[in-house]
Symmetry: C2
Subunit: 335 residues, 2 copies
DNA sequence: GTGAAAGCGCTAACAA
DNA sequence: TTGTTAGCGCTTTCAC
């Protein structure tokens, strides 16, 4: 079978402890013995068995990541961030996709634990109290990432949605738009980030004494955006709207698609902006003006927090807020 | 610390072997004892330590997946397939992204091995002989997935690119296009799937006595597509081309973007089709006519192969070819 | 500086 | 049906 520390010890003519010492640099070993051991390792192509090592050290060097769907580009970007800094600190990623099923999430959480992961990052799109409680019970570092809901009281990394929304609204106003409609996903959804975003929008709108105009799509997807196209078209005419601020890039794309299919030009006939700066936003034509949520950084900071905690550092603030950026592109024009 | 099998045994008043038996259902246990054990497990919230278990059984239930970049949507889809069927058979995914660096790939391969993964799936975009040889040396099931290069002699899952290309060319011809230009990524690249695709294109073009027209982009990306826009525009006029068959959706999108920016309409002025059916192809406007490469299925079949091999089944053919599909959308019109 | 031995948490003979 | 025991491959005291 596979070559073990014993084989190396035998070949080098030393004890296994000595071999262990040289591979871990844990205690001084005389140069000559070290050489012999190193040669033996080389000759046999020995690679320490991490499983055995984990069993005794209780360090798996594994971080468990539970995501809704790796197919979402923002999730993939977060994972990139997680992976890349994880790698820097020698942590591997154990990945599970729940596809939104709470039972699956729960099962994964337990599975990850039994695999002795040292920390867990949960990237979710709903709020699932049971799973969160379960993970908290593991007593290992845990970060909760949710683009759609506020992680009240949970360690998390996000942006200040209130501020981001205000910035975008102000920008639209500065472009000369008088009537700006905000498309939300679900209005009055408790704990949703939409609460903050709507607040930011309203604040600015009221400050400049314009009319609050809010339309609710039935969700966050491209399809949802497309589906409110018809309703929106009517409202636009009625209320003389010139700019639509979508709560997600996907909705903006769905809307632009609807307009494309109905011969309405963006931004000539109507300005549309998104939120998130998902990959599509920069590829799409017209290129979409949006708020950049730094997904990669969110992932990176999340795992950094976990590693810090693992290293015994105390994390003061529960939530880390990352800087946002308004990305000015082509889908909104000056009036 | 964490509760172990010993704690359970003590609480239940039995030996650890009995506990092991009930959690594994490996040997008969009397109903009353089983109940006692189950109760103890429940009371203590005991979860078997998989690391310890792995050490003795030599089964980690881990499949290592090395990818170029999880941010590519096709990669994410493959991983979905891998994950979902892996889960069905109780395998977890250990994920690593190499970002195209061969040294990193190599390091990951070794790392995965030391973590005792039972199989490896390598999703690569170049050919890296060293890494492949290294992995082969592990003597564990291995599947090689590469969308751009042929995996000569390696266990892999893919589509018949020759056939796919021929089908698309034929389709364009049937639409009434007389002069069809094929945009390749790199011409004459040894081992590239472009060899097969160009062959498929040429075969049909010659069969119908049309002119072979091939243009080479400098790569596979949206940007590469955009960058040849200018050259292509000239050739289109010169040769009276009405349809452009792009070797990748990304190139098609780049090209359509170029045309959008230069007021050339797709498909009115020029028909463009892609290859791959990456997520963008269906979202984009105009929706892109393309060849569907079944990424999810490729991933699913790949891991299924590994699991079969792990179960002792002998896999006969080295490469599994999955059915393709022509997806007729809006970017190509009838002449 | 080096070796012997205990033990991480578990499974799997082997006995009883 | 149950318990005892020997490891799995490694790290880590504890002697020397």
């Amino acid at each position: 079978m596979s070559v073990t520390i014993k084989d190396v010890a035998k070949l080098a003519g030393v004890s296994i402890s000595t071999v262990s010492r040289v591979i871990n640099n844990s205690k001084p070993v005389s140069p000559e013995v070290r050489r012999k051991v190193l040669d033996a390792i080389d000759e046999l192509g020995y690679k320490p068995n991490q499983v055995a090592r984990s069993l005794v050290t209780k360090k798996s060097n594994l971080i468990g990541v539970i995501v809704t769907d790796i197919g979402n580009s923002y999730v993939a970007q977060m994972i990139r961030g997680i992976e890349e800094v994880g790698r820097m600190y020698n942590y591997d990623i154990l990945l599970s996709s729940s596809y939104g099923n709470p039972d699956t999430e729960m099962k994964f959480a337990e599975l990850l634990r039994s695999k002795q992961v040292e920390g867990i990052i949960l990237i979710s799109e709903t709020i699932n109290k049971d799973v969160i409680d379960e993970i908290k019970g593991f007593n290992i570092p845990f970060v909760y990432l949710n683009k759609f809901y506020k992680a009240s009281g949970l360690p998390s990394v996000s942006i200040d949605n209130y501020e981001a929304s205000a910035i975008m609204t102000k920008y639209l106003l500065e472009l000369g738009h008088e009537n700006i409609l905000y498309v939300t996903a679900h209005e009055n959804q408790l704990g949703s980030v939409e609460e903050d975003k709507i607040k930011g929008y309203k604040e600015i709108i009221n400050k400049f004494k314009k009319d609050e105009l809010i339309l609710s799509a039935a969700g966050f997807t491209i399809e949802d955006g497309y589906n409110i196209g018809n309703d929106l078209e009517k409202i636009i005419k009625e209320k003389n709207i010139t700019a639509v601020f979508c709560c997600q890039d996907e909705i903006a794309i769905g809307l632009i698609n609807y307009f494309y299919d109905n011969q309405i030009k963006v931004p000539e006939d109507i300005s549309i902006c998104g939120y998130g700066d998902t990959k599509m936003a920069s590829i799409y034509r017209p290129e979409i003006t949006t708020i950049k949520e730094p997904y990669y950084d969110i992932g990176a900071v999340a795992i950094r927090r976990i590693i810090k905690e693992l290293e015994g550092e105390k994390i003061e603030e529960k939530n880390t807020y990352l800087p946002i950026q308004l990305i000015e592109r082509k889908s909104c024009r000056r009036i």
